[in-house]
Symmetry: C2
Subunit: 370 residues, 2 copies
């Protein structure tokens, strides 16, 4: 579409089509490579980001709507908007996390893209954990523990499997019916998860080299796991803490670890790190991937993954690139380039109900400009 | 559309169709009535709003992208995203302000509506000035001065004319070619504006009962008008200050007036009020419309209109209400309700390129789910 104000809308079918074309594994691999490369060369002079802000509420029930903005200077602003409503799956059959991403051109301010970001969020969250696991976990095959068997568990396991061979998976969920279906939701070729009671999970911790926590634990109900009997170089991807008051790890465990925040200021508000002082944090995700941190493979590490808006921009850009290549998406005219940018009523001219507008001689009765 | 995750997209044609059906004057009247009623009964326990935040930049040129969030508790979150690029009209033939509004259901977090908000922003900005003019200007017909003859000038004049008879209009613009077309952009039935040089505008101030400033004055280039010779009860709608550093009024004039901020915290950052201390401000727009302020008709008043996110929610809601009545808009599936909310890859199942996914027996080769 030639109008510079046209917007490309990329919906869930467009994302399915892109992933069908590229392949799910290959799409995950591209996302992993992009995250590793872009964050590994992160330059604060070129990428500005703000920590997310939003409305947290208890009416009609516990939830939030929040926005996550990032700008690549001189190029694009990305704003992902996220709804988090933990009762969605049980009460409504809807995902707990729903998201869309909007991209804006920094030259004109126009909205260039609106895209599905629910699946994209799950994919990038998995990809981020995979990258950090690859850098921070002991070399070689992984013995993986998973606490929380919902949608995020699927992408955590899938993404990690793209960088490391997974030897075994032990998984638990407070809801046995959710745990029971985890295996059927995973891509093929992975070990079938051994599902165990939450109460027994802690006994399996000594066998694990990597743990992912990805629960919807209510505020104040953590910890979801006790890591006291861990291996000395356990790596944890803690992805569930995303709300003030909501944390998944035991504070003693957290204090014993090197905590790697994805976004320092955000983690101090709503990550596992919200219970820590700034000087208790380890190097950031950016520090680690840029090579600005000491080697941590021998250490007990916790990746505090609250979700970084820059990851969302990278994911949306990858989606759009493939969609354009495939000619997917629908062009919409939320705005249209005017003949006279100073005339707000231009699109109304010639309409019968706005006959009071001078119309440069065009008095055609047009009720519907569609 | 029956999917609870479907989104109604309302574009520029839908807004034209709504206004064609309702009538431009009647639509403005409804918007004015809604703003007066909703702000006049504003209750901070029922409506939460955040001041806008965004990215201000000088690369590739001076501009910003910002977001303006409001929540009606237990009902809806509205986020308007605005681009402001003052070089757009001259360099690209595009409006300086471009905006879209997104509405979210606070029960599920789903995106229910995306709508055009460029014209809607101009309309609500005019409507807000009209309401404040009606309450704060001397009773009777208005002698109106307008500084800046772009898109905002049109809706300022139009909206005020819906509540007050306009006796005369004197207008000026730093660009004579923009001033020259103002008359042709106004609805009929209004006095033809007398266009004068910027240098001569100050001489006409003694004749004016209401002044609207709506310029794209660069940072540091104000004041755009000198009000020293004003009538003692002049009312000013200052709508152009919307950027840190950008102000339109002379500081002595501002200090001599009762300043009515639309959003106190926002005005202190980017309104005319950014040069004032908090204790120099008068009652807020909400105070005035709720009747919590003393009568100000005899006073020199300045409405510091930076634009309130709640006004945007009201405008978007009115637009959506009429669009639904008329069956306008396009339903889109940015998300789709899953069969299993815990299965992020559900929409990919059965696709050839994701054959590695277990598919509950459905191995049909479907490359495109559209």
């Amino acid at each position: 579409m030639s109008d510079p104000l046209a917007t490309l809308m990329l919906d869930v079918d467009d994302l399915s089509a892109v992933i069908a074309d590229v392949g799910l594994d290959a799409f995950m691999d591209e996302l992993i490579a992009e995250l590793r490369s872009e964050i590994g060369s992160f330059d604060a002079a070129c990428v500005e980001h703000q920590i997310r802000s939003g409305f947290n509420y208890e009416t009609p029930e516990h939830g939030l709507v929040e926005w996550m903005p990032t700008m690549v200077v001189g190029d694009v602003v990305s704003v992902k908007t996220v709804g988090y409503h933990p009762a969605n799956p049980q009460r409504r059959g809807l995902p707990s996390v729903l998201a869309t991403t909007a991209l804006y051109d920094t030259t004109t301010g126009s909205l260039t893209t609106i895209c599905e970001a629910t699946l994209l969020t799950a994919l990038r969250t998995g990809a981020a954990s995979a990258v950090m696991t690859d850098v921070l976990a002991a070399p070689g095959p992984v013995t993986l523990g998973v606490v929380g068997c919902g949608a995020q568990a699927v992408t955590q396991i899938h993404a990690i499997s793209r960088l490391r061979s997974i030897e075994s998976i032990v998984a638990t969920d407070i809801d046995p019916s959710v745990a029971a279906t985890l295996s059927s939701r995973l891509p093929e070729g992975l070990p079938v998860p051994v599902i165990i009671d939450s109460a027994d999970f802690n006994d399996r911790v000594p066998d694990l080299s990597v743990v992912c926590t990805c629960t919807s634990v209510p505020i104040g109900d953590g910890a979801v796991v006790d890591l006291a009997n861990r291996q000395p170089n356990l790596h944890v991807n803690a992805v569930g803490a995303d709300f003030p008051g909501k944390t998944e790890l035991d504070l003693d465990d957290l204090r014993a670890s090197v905590v790697i925040p994805d976004v320092v200021e955000q983690c101090l508000i709503e990550g596992e790190s919200q219970r820590l002082d700034r000087d208790e944090l380890g190097p950031s995700m950016t520090d680690v991937l840029r090579g600005d941190a000491p080697p941590l493979v021998e250490s007990f590490t916790v990746f505090d993954s609250t979700g970084w808006s820059f990851e969302d921009l990278i994911a949306a850009r990858l989606f759009r690139m493939h969609a354009e290549r495939l000619g997917r998406g629908t062009w919409v005219s939320l705005q249209r380039t005017p003949v006279d940018p100073y005339d707000p009523y231009e699109t109304l001219r010639g309409s019968s109900a706005t006959a009071g507008l001078r119309s440069s001689g065009n008095l055609a009765l047009v009720r519907d400009h569609g």
